[in-house]
Amino acid sequence: MNTTGSTGLRPILERHESTLLANWITAQKAAPTYRPDLIKENELRDQCRDFLRALMQAVQSGSQNVDGSEWQPVRDLLASISRSRGKQGFSTTATATFIFSLKEPLFQLLQQEYANDPKVLAEQTWATSVLLDRLGLYVTEVYQQTRDSLIQRQQEEMLELSTPVVKLWEGVLALPLIGTLDSARSQTIMENLLQKIVESGSETAIIDITGVPTMDTLTAQHLLKTVAAARLMGADCIISGIRPQIAQTIVHLGVDLSGVTTKASMADAFILALKRTGFAITRPTAGR
């Protein structure tokens, strides 16, 4: 009999499938990470059974290489389980426990099977342990990837959401900025604004920085570049929403904003923009 690698698993998986499945599910339900609120027992049972079947086939193929093509079905199954757990809100530990909880029931069966041969038992236990560790790490890795892609998608969504250019009046655009102006975002902002200026043929754009918590030299530089680019396209920019603390900080930093029209509030900026475009707001009084 071939005792190298994890081939000793084969007779166990073949003969004790139902015992193994039952013990494994019991072990998972006993684990502190078990979340009956997130996953139904039926679903868990299906996942476990599918995994054991895939594992059996992979072991039957005789291949030891978890990264090889014989193990592809096992990896695919684990990846889909890991991804769905990531979306369901399981923690990393809970997700990895799916694989690691298989150790105990599997070792028990190995012990029964090779009770007469301690040397083979030790070898098989070690090989099985290594195998499950690698599968467990694979599960964790996929879980991490799922989370990372989620974060990335959210970042992209935020980038899209947080740079709206709105039309306030004929020829007057407004760009309310919110949050950190790092280079990636300021790029998107600049592109959006310039695009809207072309589309609408606007002459004035109000950039409101009420929602920008910190104005450092990089942010100032990005703003000034945006203003300069807009000017080249024939639109004047007004920067509004400069709070007292920001004003003082800009003065101390030594940033020169004298080339740009600035206003304390969006309302002031809007009045100025209307004046420039030839509009005036009047209050119709009674009797006239």
Partner: protein, 134 residues
């Protein structure tokens, strides 16, 4: 002067600069800074953190909540193992930059804080310490 507490923040990416600003904000509120002083120290921290990242190739910020008599302050130390600054006086001059910035960060940080010290050795690295008192 007694140090009430301290912490270290790594500066390895743009996201870390945001983290630096956030921790400085929290600590300056703890030191009971007014809104203007909060904004000043946060802005200085943002400048220095970006310098650490851009010119020093990354490093870390050491933040301390200090106390002297009745007044409290926040002290920030930015350290990197970058190329160092050959001419510190020139680097502090407004408008001078070896990169693509406005050349106001270092001098601006000095004006935004109460105490400013810079120690740089070419080929070894740069350490900038600033303190803002309430």
């Amino acid at each position: 002067m007694p140090v009430l507490k301290s912490d270290t923040v790594p500066i390895r990416s743009d996201a870390d600069v945001v983290a630096v600003r956030q921790i400085v904000r929290v600590w300056s509120i703890e030191a009971k800074f007014g809104l203007v002083d909060q904004t000043k120290i946060i802005t200085a921290a943002s400048e220095l953190a970006r310098n650490t990242l851009e010119y020093g190739g990354g490093g870390h910020m050491f933040i301390e909540l200090v106390e002297e008599g009745v007044r409290k302050g926040v002290r920030l130390t930015f350290e990197d193992q970058g190329p160092g600054i050959a001419d510190v006086e020139q680097a502090l001059r407004d408008g001078y930059t070896s990169g693509k910035g406005m050349g106001l960060g270092l001098g601006g940080s000095k004006r935004l804080t109460n105490e400013f010290a810079i120690h740089s050795v070419v080929g070894v690295g740069t350490r900038v310490t600033v303190t803002k008192w309430k």
